[in-house]
Structure formats: structure tokens, C-alpha cells
Symmetry: C2
Subunit: 266 residues, 2 copies
């Protein structure tokens, strides 16, 4: 069993209620990664809709930070199940407080091989992962336990905050245990790169997510995923970052967009 599978696992208590544990090794500083928290909620939903194993569209609202190394409850409501889609709501709570709200539709995705693509977004051309520096929390002055579980490499021209000269970030991502990401893991991976606004503005503070939406488009082929993200809209303290992930065959695996708050450092 992969670390991701065992550390997002939940146990059914019946009536759409589940229990699990938020692990300690998926955090940015003291806060569990948002995509990781969503993954736990989605694992609960997946158990309730076995005909539809893959998230097609997932929206999460972040109400309060999660608490690492602490139990969690997930309440699932299946809103509708049809022939090709199941739609559900999930609420993940810890210590009696709601942490995230999720609204998602699941279906069945094809493998990367089985494509009938009419329109797609080409993957960016990046230097080989061996010459892309690992993501680090050093410039931000924070510890990144997440790097125990994820191997994240940043484009060498974008690795230092401010170096890109524009609000972009790109690079590679894979699990440390080298397991292929399943369709739920691609949501975690769409939320694991440094904020792209650091590319233009440097390390300007903490960027808590208000809401994240990911559309998963295919099951990924084995190997590295490539990610590329851009902040094209920042005003009044709120920013929107859009991006995508591609697998090692160049197939588009997911599109993501999030709105976050820019909290400036003193």
C-alpha cells in the first residue's frame, strides 16, 4: 500500500460517516496541505459510489486549517447518482470544527493511453528533472514536512523567489515512494507547488487558499508529473492562480484554479 493510500484511508461508520487521521507528513509548516485534506474527504466519497471511482470536478472551501497527526471525521452526502456521474458533498472536521467543505462529481476516467483528444493544452518543455532544484521552504523560513512524501523539483530559472520575474512556477512532482498517482492524488499534486506569485513578488507572505477547484482529465501514466501554474489576477488582496498537470506521456491530467488571500509579511 502506498503512503498516500494508507495516509488518506478512512473507515466507514455507516450512514455516510467516516473516520480517519490527518497525517503529519503532508504539511506546509504546521498546516496540512489543502489538497491532502481534500484527498481524505474524496476517499470517503469514493467508498460510497463504487461505480464512479474518479473525481471529474472537485471544489473545496477552506474554512480553518487542519491539524496534523490528529483524527478527523468526514460526513458524506450523496446528492445524486446517475449513469455516468455521482455528485456529493463532504465535510471534514477535526476536534469538533469544520475544516473543509467539498462539492464533487465523480465518474470514470480513461487511462492516458486511451485518448480521443480533440483539443488539449500542450505540456511546457522543461529541463530534465535532474537539473531542477528540489522545492525548499528555506526562503520562506518554514519547514515542509510535505517533502517527506513528495519529490517536487522546480524549474531552475524559477527556483529562487522573484527569479522568474513573472508570477509563474513550473516543475516536476512525484511521490517519494515512486508510486503512480491515482486520480485523487492528482488533486493533491495540483496543490503542492510553491505559490506562483512568489515568481514575480518574491516571498511576500502566506497565501491561504479560500477555494480550490480541480478538474481531473485522465488517469496519469507512471512517472513524473509536470506542473505549470500562473497568477494572472491579483487585486484587493485576493489572487487567482490557474494551472495544469501533465503526465510523462505529455497527456493533460488535470486543470486547477484557486482563489487565495495574500497576507503580507510585516
Amino acid at each position: 500500500m502506498t503512503h498516500f493510500a494508507s495516509e488518506t484511508a478512512v473507515r466507514s461508520l455507516g450512514d455516510g460517516r467516516f473516520e480517519g487521521t490527518v497525517g503529519s507528513l503532508w504539511s506546509i509548516g504546521d498546516n496540512p496541505n489543502g489538497g491532502y485534506l481534500v484527498s481524505i474527504a474524496l476517499m470517503a466519497f469514493r467508498q460510497m459510489v463504487p461505480a464512479h471511482p474518479d473525481p471529474l470536478t472537485v471544489t473545496a472551501h477552506y474554512l480553518r486549517p487542519g491539524v496534523p497527526d490528529t483524527p478527523c471525521d468526514v460526513a458524506v452526502e450523496v446528492v445524486r447518482t446517475g449513469r455516468t456521474l455521482s455528485t456529493g458533498r463532504m465535510t471534514l472536521s477535526q476536534e469538533g470544527k469544520t475544516r473543509i467543505e467539498v462539492l464533487a462529481a465523480f465518474g470514470e476516467l480513461r487511462d492516458a493511453e486511451a485518448r480521443e483528444t480533440d483539443i488539449s493544452i500542450p505540456a511546457p518543455v522543461l529541463p530534465d528533472p535532474s537539473i531542477c532544484p528540489e522545492r525548499s521552504g528555506e526562503e520562506q523560513g518554514i519547514h515542509l514536512p510535505l517533502l517527506e512524501r513528495l519529490d517536487i523539483r522546480i524549474h531552475p530559472d524559477q527556483a529562487k523567489a522573484g527569479a522568474a520575474g513573472e508570477p509563474i512556477v513550473s516543475g516536476y512532482i512525484r511521490f517519494r515512494d515512486d508510486q503512480s498517482p491515482d486520480s485523487i492524488a492528482s488533486i493533491l499534486m495540483a496543490d503542492s507547488f510553491p505559490p506562483s506569485v512568489f515568481g514575480s513578488h518574491g516571498v511576500i507572505g502566506w497565501v491561504p487558499t479560500i477555494e480550490l477547484t480541480v478538474h481531473v482529465r485522465r488517469r496519469a501514466a507512471p512517472g513524473w508529473l509536470v506542473g505549470a501554474f500562473r497568477t494572472d489576477d491579483l487585486n484587493d488582496g485576493r489572487m487567482i492562480e490557474s494551472g495544469a498537470l501533465w503526465d510523462s506521456t505529455g497527456a493533460l491530467v488535470a486543470q486547477s484554479r484557486q482563489i487565495g488571500l495574500l497576507l503580507l509579511n510585516d
Copy 2:
């Protein structure tokens, strides 16, 4: 009172329950526009969080088509209210069946004038509205009651299906009664242009939305809104369309993204 305000109005029944009516003049063929249905749900939520009048991020899942000229119920749950944000869930039902599920965060937006923009997306340059043809359902062979309420003009090079040669659509939109759109109306307007995939593929069928997310970025200045939309990702029968709206001062009013099903005509 504007047509939009009176035809999205809901009456509180207490305990987060509201009643209203889905009007008959906001439809595409026989189906009420998705952004219009969401607007009714959001009007209910707005009543419950008076400190936070503006939608910042709204996600709607479309479970079943709405029914025009028919009463509706909206059930609202305020998930969390904080200092700057209120988060809620809404369920809009008609004839005993859930039609849409909504998850949204509201706050307070600034007017277009009061900008502190760090990064933005420039508005496209379009020909004057007077030489842009009105949206028509003729090529699709459907009646568009929506055009009784919305004046929608399409870029002359994109007005005929297939003419653009790529999956894009752009143009102008405003209320027929010439009232300025409030922040909720910008969600309707982000969902009222023809599917951009018609630009490349012609009129290939019906494109029901699975999920729509709109980020509202500013209150719009009076006058036309400009909209531009692109489908950059179509595979396995599902397409993602992303777009934006700008007001008459050129300020970015909203970003939108939706995933839809492409149902081919016989």
C-alpha cells in the same frame, strides 16, 4: 426594481428555507440558464449574510434541468461566517427534485473605480457593439427566451458557428432594461454566451454544464460587459471552457470556468 432583481427574488420561510419562482424568460430552449438558477440560490444566501453582499467564489453543480415558470425552493446552510468571508451551501429544488447544488463564499467587493490592481488580464479589443450581431438560436434551431432579458452581441468574425476557426467566442452583454449588473448578475452573464466550442466545431450538439465556477472580482461599472471564452481542453466527451468578463472601464469583473458534456447531434 430590475427584471433581474424581481425574477430572482426569494422569500424567507425561516430556518434557511426560501421560496421563489423560476421565470420563463431566462431560458435556452426549454431549460432555464444555469447562471440564472444559481443567481436565485445566491439571492437566498445573500439574505442570510448581510455583512457580505458579494459572491467571491461560486461553484454550482447541475443535477437536473430547471423548470421555467414554476416555483422553486432554496435550502441554505451557512457553513461559516468570519470577519471577511461567509461560506454557504445552497440546494435549489423544483417539484420535489434537487436541480442544482451550490457552494459559495461571499465577502465585500470594491467598485471598479477603487482599484489596487497588481496583476490583471487585459480586456480583448472588440469592434463596436453596433456592428456585432445579436446572439441567435437560429443555427441551433432553438428558441432563446433569454434574449428577452439579455442583449448579447457576438464578435462579427465569430457570430456564425464554425466561423472563428478556433474554439473561442467573445462579445458584449447587458440587461435589456439597461440596469447595471450587480455582483450576482455577473455570474449569470458569465454563463450566457454561446458555447465557445461552436467556434471550431460548428453547432455540434447540446452542451449541458456539469459544474460551473465563477470568481467575481469587482462590482461592474455601468454599461456593456465584454466577455471572452475559450475551450482549451476537450476529450472523452467532456470539455472545459474558461473565460472572463470586463466592464466598460476595462476592469476585470469575473473569471469563469466550467466543465460540460458534449452530446453530439445524431
